[in-house]
């Protein structure tokens, strides 16, 4: 029996592509790549905004619906070069979608060879995404990933030249599909046929690099550090809180809810933090250079987000990275004293 490895994002298209191939008697296992920029898992895990929503990894959930094994692969470090220096450039934000697809298919090929599988399948649909799924880019992905003829796109295969997988009769090309365009109608019909009752439909995509608010913060980080680079904790912290930069030397990360408060507590040993103790309010971190003047200024901003009135003096506990703790009393800034330009994003 031939064996295929499927790139599973957790969305509908990769589920459909997998099931189409399973229906032809092919054994399938899935792989899912973790870049550090994934949206849903972290947002759900950190914030309290949707407490009733089931917190789950969509790729694992999809694999379970399909009855396949799923291997989640950490590509955080290797993926940095794709984000920092994409050969084919960025999309509308900092999304290196074409380079990303090439990279992932190449990694899938390496996995396939190591585990003695025969071909790779993806849920790509021609024209579905502007950057990586245009027809002219499909051969580039196949060629540059070195997957070439063993990369099968079951949802749009009929619109592409037959691959080795089809020519050798491992799968019946006639039972593949010819989907194209941004309409999701054919996919929904096929989902109905396969009786897929539920599937992830992330609004705005599943990668933070396609999110303007997020990439604004990433660009700000590069600009103020003076170099285009990041560590894992950097890209995680960009997902959390309000980011306010009153000075080129430092910025504040101010929590927006209890979930973020709890999450940022685990970073207090890495960053100077401010915690209101006289009033209710969020935990804040200071990222950048620290001195007494900056701390006082940051405290006035942080105090603004407590329940104190503008004429209340707010006491905050300042914890340094070394573990020393001091208190500071400040009058909060008024809303007018925090200009909009300081907000890197909401």
């Amino acid at each position: 029996m031939k064996k295929a490895v499927a790139l599973i994002s957790g969305g509908l298209d990769s589920m459909l592509a997998t099931r189409v191939i399973q229906e032809q008697g092919i054994y399938v296992e899935g792989i899912n790549f973790y870049t550090g920029f994934c949206v849903e898992g972290h947002t759900q895990a950190i914030r309290n905004s949707q407490p009733n929503k089931v917190k789950r990894n969509s790729a694992l959930w999809a694999a379970e619906q399909l009855g396949i094994k799923l291997h989640i692969i950490d590509i955080i470090q290797d993926y940095k070069q794709i984000v920092l220096n994409p050969k084919y450039g960025y999309g509308s934000h900092l999304n290196p979608c074409l380079d990303c697809k090439i990279f992932m298919v190449n990694r899938a090929k390496q996995w396939m060879e190591k585990n003695q599988f025969d071909f790779i399948i993806t849920g790509e649909v021609i024209g579905q995404r502007p950057k990586s799924q245009l027809k002219k880019y499909m051969p580039i992905v196949a060629h540059e990933s070195k997957a070439d003829d063993i990369l099968l796109r079951p949802l749009c295969a009929k619109l592409l030249a037959p691959t080795l997988v089809e020519r050798e009769g491992w799968v019946n090309r006639e039972k593949l599909h010819g989907f194209s365009g941004r309409s999701r109608g054919p996919q929904f019909d096929l989902a109905k046929k396969f009786d897929f009752q539920e599937y992830a439909q992330p609004a705005g995509g599943c990668c933070f690099l396609t999110n303007g608010h997020y990439t604004k913060k990433l660009k700000d980080l590069w600009k103020h550090r003076g170099r285009k680079d990041y560590e894992f904790d950097d890209i995680i912290l960009l997902k959390v809180g309000r980011h306010i930069r009153p000075h080129s030397d430092f910025k504040l990360i101010i929590c927006r809810d209890e979930g973020e408060n709890h999450f940022l507590e685990s970073y207090q040993h890495q960053y100077t933090s401010l915690k209101p103790i006289s009033h209710l309010g969020p935990l804040s971190l200071i990222e950048g250079k620290i001195n007494a003047e900056y701390i006082h200024f940051a405290a006035k901003i942080a105090a603004r987000f407590t329940d104190a009135k503008s004429n209340d003096k707010v006491t905050l506990e300042i914890s340094s990275v070394s573990g020393s703790i001091q208190t500071i009393k400040v009058f909060p800034f008024t809303a007018d004293q925090i200009p909009k330009e300081w907000y890197i994003s909401s």
């Binding site: 899912n32 973790y34 994934c38 898992g41 972290h42 759900q44 895990a45 950190i46 089931v54 917190k55 789950r56 990894n57 790729a59 694992l60 959930w61 694999a63 379970e64 396949i68 094994k69 799923l70 291997h71 989640i72 692969i73 950490d74 995680i236 709890h262 685990s266």
Partner: protein
Amino acid sequence: MTHHLDARRLLCPLPVIKIQEYVKTLYPGDILEIVCTDKGSLSDITAWCRIHGHYLLSSSKQNQEIFMTIQIGIC
């Protein structure tokens, strides 16, 4: 044999990745006790066990920490 894995502070899917790599070094029947803090870990690790033929023996939550015990299956 019983093994222990600390996956606290790791966000989804890192606890699953850590378990996945650790389990490669274990044998069928071995027990793995895991502690993690990501709220999604409970459903994710449970799903991962079902997919790969391992057995979730117990799970509990204490304050912010989630404790899970799994037995390695034949896979």
